[in-house]
């Protein structure tokens, strides 16, 4: 927080080194969120650029009511969603909306232990499966999972970024986790060659 305040103050004073500090602090995080949503590196890059440009032009109006990180994530999220809408993707598929309201979550089906993380991480096929599984999530679940479990935002921060209630964040995170676990379970079952397929 103190760092953000210092960066903002220096930026307002026109200090170019503060731009590097801002960029280093947030560029990767914003890029990962945009890439997770858009699945297109060029578009993700555009979103990051838009986000920083917006931050720079709103410097004088940013009063620190929310944390700078939350504000930047929110701008990047909205820019990503705008692009998806223009491409004709709905932000929240109807199947999500229904089950989200009832809170019903499918019970886990694959009940086998996995290989160790070390074994999985050196397996190229397994790493590709991690990417595929997260991309198979609906965008509303993906956004929550990326912000909460990968970027480490709190439930309250995630709710602010996405403009939804903390309760909805928790429901979506739970659904995302169970869906990812289920999808990966057969491939990650251990020992190698002993299970699955």
């Amino acid at each position: 927080m103190a760092d953000d305040a210092a960066i903002l103050q220096a930026l307002r004073a026109g200090d170019a080194s503060a731009l590097a500090a801002l960029f280093d602090a947030y560029a990767d995080r914003l890029y990962r969120l945009a890439l997770g949503l858009l699945r297109n590196p060029d578009e993700a890059e555009d979103v990051v650029q838009e986000t920083f440009l917006k931050a720079l032009t709103h410097l004088d109006r940013f009063e620190g009511r929310s944390r700078l990180s939350t504000w930047l994530y929110r701008v990047a999220y909205n820019a990503s969603i705008d692009r998806l809408r223009r491409q004709g993707e709905s932000a929240l598929p109807s199947d999500d909306r229904e089950t989200e309201e009832t809170g019903a979550v499918p019970l886990p089906q694959v009940l086998v232990e996995w290989r160790t993380p070390e074994e999985i991480l050196i397996d190229a096929e397994a790493r590709a499966a991690l990417d595929e599984a997260i991309q198979a999530l609906s965008e509303s679940l993906r956004a929550v999972f990326v912000l909460r479990d990968i970027e480490g935002l709190s439930t309250a921060e995630t709710a602010q970024v996405l403009g939804i209630s903390p309760g909805a964040v928790k429901v979506r995170l739970h659904r995302a986790r169970l869906a990812l676990r289920e999808r990966l379970a057969l491939l990650f079952a251990g020992p190698p060659g002993g299970q699955g397929r």
Partner: protein
């Protein structure tokens, strides 16, 4: 607590957001239910794997290009001055 309830509370359990009583109930169930233990372990492992692999940096070329464009915009806006310009 039965399996269905355990699964419903699984994320709250992982995030340590259950009150003490529910947490104790969950632990009691986990102590006797292998299936739920597997689901808990593999869910935590899944989260760990994404934390390890998901925090990628912008590829260097893209990163350099992005930063240069922002620098130009910052200087062009009139608010920014660089060390070069100042010198």
């Amino acid at each position: 607590m039965n399996c269905e309830e355990l699964i419903r509370y699984l994320s709250d359990y992982i995030d340590r957001e259950l009150d003490e009583e529910l947490r104790a109930d969950a632990q009691e169930h986990l102590a006797t239910c292998r299936n739920c233990r597997v689901v808990l372990d593999t869910t935590q492992q899944m989260i760990f794997l994404y934390r390890r692999t998901g925090r990628r940096a912008i590829p260097a070329e893209r990163r350099g290009r992005l930063f240069r464009r922002l620098q130009e915009a910052f200087q062009g806006s009139g608010t920014g001055t660089t060390a070069d310009q100042a010198a």
